[in-house]
């Protein structure tokens, strides 16, 4: 299960809406199993169907989390025309087995569609998302 404060979820959804129709991506840092801060990342691909963290920005952010004893707690990204479910590409490239993968779909302008998953060794498991 993923517990996320309402304010953080709102920030993530707002980011996804802002970057629509391109995919948005970012991280929620965490410590001791709790979310600490949302880090909005650049989608280096600037694409409606693909995202990739900028390599230099990723190094900086990963270092800053290391220094603060944080981990990449949530990896989030948006799908802009399809459901909030990991795609084949998402699954084959998932590289943080300890992270929650949060998917936001912006296909509806009014409905908030957000789901959380674990992706380990190519296996996807949806988990409950609890807004606190």
């Amino acid at each position: 299960m993923l517990e996320l404060p309402r304010q953080m979820l709102d920030e993530i959804v707002a980011h996804a809406r802002r970057d629509h129709p391109d995919e948005a991506c970012g991280v929620v840092a965490g410590k001791d199993g709790r979310a600490t801060r949302v880090i909005v990342m650049e989608n280096a691909e600037r694409s409606p169907t693909f995202y990739r963290f900028d390599a230099q920005e990723q190094l900086r952010v990963w270092r800053s989390m290391d220094d603060a004893d944080e981990v990449p707690f949530v990896i989030y990204h948006s799908h802009t025309a399809t459901e909030a479910h990991p795609s084949r590409t998402d699954i084959s490239l998932a590289s943080e087995p300890d992270a929650h993968y949060l998917l936001v779909s912006t296909r509806s302008e009014t409905e908030e569609e957000v789901r959380s998953f674990r992706i380990v060794d190519g296996q996807v498991a949806e988990e409950a998302l609890t807004v606190i």
Binding site: C25, M41, E45, A55, T89, L93
Partner: protein
């Protein structure tokens, strides 16, 4: 002196859970061969069958992305620090690029 290599979580199965290991080599390619001699299988996760650096692995030498330094031919010296990070990437659909399928999954 040696070269310190920081290993990401997903590859620590090859390093007995160690976050950082040491190695040696005059180039990044040499260093990866050296690491693979003690941490068998690591090379296969960093380098494709075609012999290039995997598209979805980021390698940094002293915090510089090796793609801008010379990739596998990047020169190394004792005391350098190497960081490996899997790229964070994905998307709704497979992009129409051969590199993604050729690179395989991370």
């Amino acid at each position: 002196m040696a070269i310190e290599v920081r290993i990401p979580t997903i590859l620590r199965t090859y390093t007995d859970g160690q976050k950082a290991v040491e190695g040696k080599g005059d180039t990044l390619a040499d260093l990866i061969d050296d690491l693979d001699s003690r941490h068998a299988g690591l090379k296969g996760r960093l380098i494709t069958e075609q012999g290039g650096l995997h598209r979805f692995v980021n390698v940094y030498v002293n915090d510089e992305d090796v793609r801008f330094l010379g990739a596998l031919e990047t020169k190394l010296a004792d005391g350098d620090s190497v960081t490996v990070l899997p790229a964070v990437a994905g998307g709704a659909e497979r992009p129409a690029r051969a590199a993604v399928t050729a690179g395989g999954s991370f």
